[in-house]
Structures are given as C-alpha cells and as structure tokens.
Amino acid sequence: MILTRSLTRIVHRAARPVALAAVVAVLAAGLWQFALGGLLSGDDSSGLVARATGSPQLIYSEFSRNSDTIWTAAADNLSQRRAIATVDHAPEYGIFPSLSPDGHRIAYTVLPPDSGQADIAAPAEVWVMDGNGAGRRRLAVDADLPVTPVWAPDSGSLVFRRSVPRENAAGSFQLVRITLAGVETVLVDAGVGLFPVGFSPEGATFYYVQLSADGTNLGRVAATGGPAAPVAHLSDDFARDWHLSPDGTRLAFLAPRDTGDRVSYSATVLDLGGDNAALVLRAASAATALSDADEFNPIWNPNGRDLTVGRLASGSAGAPALQMAAAGVGAERSLAAPPQGFDVPLAWSADGGYLAVRFFEGSSVTNPGRSWVMVVGGSKRQTVAATSDIEVLGWRDGGG
C-alpha cells in the first residue's frame, strides 16, 4: 500500500511525459524488482522451475506489503534462490501457504488485493497452484485467512476453515474439505473455534482441534464427512502446534504446564493407536524436570519415531533445537546451537540432512527479539536471505 501510494505520487508529480512514461514502462516490464537496489541480489527470478541440484530444496514464502514471493533454494547453497511465484494480496496481510505432500502443489489463503478488505476478519480466498507456480486458480471463497490449509495425503484435496464471527463470542465455524475440482464437503460444523490438524496416512480420517471454555480437545471425523467423534482432551487451556506422526499413530503438541510459579509450554505426545488415547511423553507426573523451560513446536523427524523440539531454559544462552525419542526414553541430542538466542524447529528435509528453524535472538518468550529463518545441516548454520518475514512451507527433494 505504501508502494502503491508512493507510485501514485511519483506518477502524479511526474512533470514531464517522458518521466511518466519511464515509470509506467518499468512497471509494465515487471522490472520493479531490479529497481530495489540489489535487495534481490543473488536471486534468479527469471526461471520458474527450480534447478535440480541433488540437494533438498527449501520452499518458503517471503512477505512484502502488497505481494508475497514463494521461493525455492537448495539447502547446500541458500543464496541461490529462485522465485516460484509472486502472489498479490491486500496491503499488510500476507498469504498463508501450504505445500502438498507430493511437493507438486501449493495452496494458500489470501485476501485478494482488489477486495478493499485489509482486515484479518475479511473473507479470504483459497488458491492452488502447481509447484512451479503455473496453473494458479481460485478454489474457494469466504475462507479464514490465518488458518493455513491442510492437505490430504494424496495431494488431491485440502481442508480450510470458514467462519462467521460474533462479538463477545467465538462465532460459528466449519472445516471444509475441497477437491482440486472445487467440490466442497463440510467435515465439521461447530459453535466453537475449530482448527484443522491433519489426515491419517491413508486419508480415511481427519483430525481437528476445537477450542472452548472447556479447553482444547482433539476430535476426528471420516474424511468423507459424517458424525464427528471426540478423541482426547489435550488441555484445560490453550494447546497448540499439533503435528500428527507420519504413521498417524501419535500426535505431538504443546501443552501448557503450570508449576505454580511459572507457566510454560512443553512438548507432549498423545498415543492415538489404541481405543483410548494416552499421553506417552510428558504425562502430568513428569512436570518437574521442565519447570523452568519453554518448549517449542514439536515436529516429527523423518524417521517417524523421534521428535525435534525447541527448548529455552531460563537464563540459558544459545539454545539449539533438540532431538528426542517420542516415548521420552534415551538421550536427547542437540543440533548445532546458535551463539545466543534460541531455535524453534520448523521442518526437516525428507533425507534428514537439513532442518529449517526460526532463530530468535532474545532470551525469553515474552521478549524473543528479532528473528530469522536458518537452515541447520550438521554443524553448519545458514541464514535464509530475506528482505522481510519468511514462512517455511517445507522441503522438496532435490532430484528434480
């Protein structure tokens, strides 16, 4: 919006037709990126398809006020990135993108730039594009912007959220499955906040979370729709950052832990395999050991057995991401640590060689300081070059 207005003023003030024509020509040629004074130095925006290098490809979106750019960069040389697509959006509100499991498509929610509705509560749209940015099309309207779509395992459909807000109340909510042909099925309909979690590996069951005064509860429903069923009570309070294990038998998430003088989040694992869901990591009796630490975003390792979590203990400096067994047994292993601050894990490459993390330079949850996205590979840490906020969509194999 600032850019738009500045351009309005530039055009307005252009005293000579030649100057005006030059401005228009630059815009029309799409050369504005080059006019940013080298901000995109090292980028190769001309190609839409990532060059195969053999190294896993990090897929991420980079925010700007009026449009976001989706990039791919090889893990072994992040400075050479390629633009997959640029998505225009309403001023100040970026897209919420999601990479399909097969890596061939990207879905996102967006407030369209011409909607005039730059407000988080405004109706968003769901779009999908091929992995190389081609074939972009709108799938759905009246979606909730900040709820990132969740893909089905076969990459043939996805779930987004639709809601109607009410003052002094949560509103009404739907989780809607939509095929790539645009056929919608309402999976869950409720008067409390709903969040999509994910599908079971074979795609038959869909898990979701609902927030209410009762706390955070996990539910499930057949992926084709039908009656919803409660699965487990995750917390009396806000649980968050839930991740289904690759085999669909466990759910990792953050649950608040109150030790009386401190409240923090800790990684928790719920076993979904039996008739009754049960905690297998960080049951209530294990609270003491982590009483002074915050844990962040428990994600599954590619092996499907272990977890990677961020952990920041009071007074610590340079807190790396940690790998641990989901069952809570065995030694923890630290990844390459930052000199200060702390890491929050985001996504492993499929080969387990690289981990994208969000690094914070601060020393507490309340004051986390500035942040960058980095890639940790072995003992090496690389910063993902960016001119603004980054959201990591995931990784693609580097073979092609």
């Binding site: 738009t4 003052e167 009396d236 009386g260």
Partner: protein
C-alpha cells in the same frame, strides 16, 4: 436520544473499528457515497498534532460526542474517575495500524482533497471509526441523512481522531463491567501505557478465542510460538510485518516500538512497551481459556512490567486553534431561479460553489426539501487557505454543489424548494432557495411573462 440509543447499541454490538482498507462502495454506511475530505502532507504532521490534542482532551472538551469522558481508575470494587488523558503513543500507533494515518482513500495523493477512506464495514478515516457509522443517524431536520457527528467523522480528520480517542476511552471505561482490568497492582492507572492492554484489544473487538479476529495472545490462530514482535518499520528489520500473525494489541504495541519510517524519518520516537509475561502465572492464569467468559471478571491482570509513562508534553493551548481552525460557510448564491419551457423535458443542472471563508476544514452536507430536487455530492469539505496542498495534487478548496431537477417528479406550475447547507463545525446553516418557473407566452409575440 434515539441517535444516542442507536449509537450505544452499535458500540455494544459490534467491533468498534476495523483495519484499514481502500474506499469501495459504501452501501449501508451513513453516507451513500464517500464524501471528499482533506488529506494532509505525507509527514502526517497535522494528524500527529491532532492526536496529541485529542489525547489530552484539548480538541472538544465537554462535547458529548467528541470530548473524552473521565477515565475510571482503581480496582473492581473501588472505582473512581480521573481527568481523561490517553497516552498519545497509543493514538499514533492505532492510527497507523488502522489507516497508515490517512483520512482519504489511497488513490488520493498526500496534500490533496478527494474521497474519504471508508472500509467495507463502514470504518471511516484515520481511526477507522465504525461504531455509529453504519446507518444514517440523523433525526429531526436530518431524518434520513447522516447526523452532523457522522458527517464530521467522515470528512474531517480532527473530528475523526477525536472520535477515535473517545472510543478508546469508552473501551477503557468498559472495565470492569464488561471488560477486564489491567493494572490490578497499580490502581489501574491510565497514565501507565501498559494498563491500556485490554482497551486497545477491545478497540478492534473483544472476540472469542479461535475466531479469526480473536486477539487473544495465546490463541493458536496466530501462527508459530513465540511470535517475533511486530514492526511498522523497515521490512528487513528482523521483526514481523505480516499483520495476519498478530493479535491487534500486539500490532499496536509493536508499532509503538518500531515506528513507521516516512521519507527517511520515523514518525515518532521508538516507544518500547511491556507485554504481559506469559510465563508468569499472574498474567497467564487470567488469560486461561476458561476465563474468556463475559464479563471477563477473572481476566484482570497486573500491569505488564516494566510499565511506561508517555513522555509527550501537553500541547500548548494555541495549537488547538491552529488544528481545528475557524471555518465559515460561504455560498456563491442563495437563490437559484430556473425558467423552464412548457415541455419541461430537461432542465440544465445548476451549480453553487461552497467555500470556506475562514480556516481549517469546513464539513458540509446538503439537504434538499423536495424529492424533485437532487443534490450532488451530498456532502464534502471546503478547505481553508492555510492548509497545505502538494504541487499539482487535486486540491479544489471550494466544493461545487450541483442541483439537478428531476423533471419526471416535478409538479406542474411554479415550484419552490430549499437546499439547506449545514456546517456543523461552524454551527452554521444557510439555505439555497430554488424556484422553478414556467415560461408562458402571453400577449404580443416576443413578450414573455411567467
């Protein structure tokens, strides 16, 4: 009373404001089309001064609609009130989040006159005032039209900012009956900026957890955890800029600490504000999910530490006159006489120039007395000569009012009607008398008489 009742209902039933958006069709809002307004130069100097005046209740003290109410202070069981002062940093930061501190739509350059910024949900101007702006609230002589207050909010940045400040103060005073108190350990002192945490949250809407406009800081709808602080500063400053990742009060807190940069200069000095410590049970406990139940009595929190007082000096009294001005309504003519032929098929539109003979912004609205008499535009501004315009920018300081006769609805014979031009800021009303007379041939050829 009817207007006030409707207004109260609107405040209670809806989110007060919405975030910024360019002007689009404004159906359902108090004015049928976006009226012209004045947009100050890009440095926002006039707007920031007006915000300081509004914060210290120096714009319209005592005014029922545009003057700040006294602020409640103290604990739940022992509330009293104090002189109203809002930390100015909050109005600056809210203004930027709402509209990037612009009164006109984004198509209008700075230092210019053009259509006002009106959002899809009738948020108006700099402070994106929504409450009381969704339907015409005029009554009596204004029945069916915008009320004078609505006109001023829509067209005049001074009143828009003043009203935004009032709404924020009303949100402050909503505690403890309908909102939690922040500052249980500091007597809920409004001089401590951090004590405005819930009031700022409420300015955008106190909606429930899980909603897309939840604003609850623990809500998982806001992406990853923890959140990098929000920034209105440069995109590459290492802080966050995508507004969809933040509850409203964190947008405002972040913008205060990381101010916008315009033409190389920050619009204000960075002002770090403390957030509730979410590891501390004194904050985290009240923010428990189970406590988000109206009237939120279990959500009271201490003052986030370490709290800050806004060091902004109270403006000098003379600043008010400079900002508010002294508008005076001027009309190029007050009698419009139209002679029409027998056929009465068409009648050429008539024009009246509305000017500001004084200073500041003169907001006006035109109300015709007859259905066959149409006015366009229905409202707008006439701008005093002291307000700066950018070279070459559209800046017609005088407004051109077009009177159109709808011949299909025009009764036969001589007709008279009036157009009342109201200027609420100067408390003036002038009338344009319109006479439609028929041309009738009588007597000798060439001699006419009506």
């Amino acid at each position: 009373m009817k207007r006030l009742a409707l207004l109260a209902l609107a405040i209670t039933a809806s989110g007060v404001v919405s975030l910024a958006k360019p002007a689009l069709p404004v159906s359902g809002c108090c004015l049928p089309t976006a009226p012209n307004t004045y947009e100050c130069p890009e440095d926002r100097g006039l707007y920031l001064k007006a915000m300081d005046l509004a914060a210290f209740n120096m714009l319209f003290p005592g005014d029922e609609y545009f003057g700040l109410p006294r602020l409640e202070t103290g604990l739940r069981a022992s509330r009293s009130s104090t002189e109203p002062v809002i930390p100015p940093i909050l109005l600056r930061s809210i203004g930027w989040i709402e509209s990037v501190i612009t009164q006109a739509t984004r198509a209008i350059p700075y230092g210019a006159i053009g259509p006002a910024l009106i959002s899809f949900d009738c948020g108006h101007g700099i402070m994106q005032v929504t409450s009381g702006m969704t339907t015409p609230l005029g009554e009596g002589d204004y029945e069916g039209y915008a009320s004078p207050e609505q006109l001023l909010v829509a067209t005049n940045y001074v009143y828009n900012i003043a009203r935004g400040a009032v709404i924020l103060a009303v949100k402050w005073n909503a505690a403890p009956e309908n909102r939690p108190i922040a500052g249980t350990d500091t007597n809920s002192d409004p001089a401590l900026v951090e004590n405005w945490y819930f009031a700022v949250w409420s300015y955008n809407g106190f909606t429930g957890p899980g909603a897309k406009r939840s604003n609850h800081p623990m809500d998982p709808i806001y992406g990853g955890w923890p959140r990098v602080p929000y920034s209105c500063g440069p995109a590459n400053d290492g802080f966050g800029h995508n507004r969809g990742n933040y509850p409203y009060q964190e947008l405002v807190w972040g913008c205060a600490a990381h101010p916008p940069v315009v033409n190389g200069s920050s619009l204000w000095s960075p002002f770090e504000l403390a957030y509730p410590d979410l590891n501390d049970p004194r904050f985290r406990g009240p923010l428990n999910l189970a406590n988000f139940v109206s009237p939120y009595a279990a959500m009271d929190i201490p003052t986030p530490y370490y709290a800050h007082r806004d060091p902004t000096d109270k403006p000098r009294d003379s600043l008010r006159a400079q900002i508010v001005g002294s508008p005076q309504l001027g009309l190029s003519k007050t009698d419009v006489r139209v002679l029409v032929g027998k056929e009465r098929k068409t009648i050429a539109p008539q024009e009246v120039i509305i000017s500001n003979q004084g200073s500041g912004i003169l907001s006006w609205m035109a109300i015709p007395s007859a259905s066959w008499l149409q006015v366009s535009p229905i409202a707008g501004v006439a701008v005093g000569p002291e307000l700066p315009c950018s070279p070459g920018a559209p800046c017609e300081r005088e407004a051109k009012l077009t009177l159109t006769i709808n011949t299909a609805a025009l009764p036969k014979g001589t007709q008279t009607a009036k157009v009342r031009i109201i200027s609420p800021a100067s408390d003036e009303t002038q009338t344009i008398n319109v006479t439609i007379a028929s041309l009738t041939k009588i007597g000798a050829p060439g001699l006419t008489k009506n």
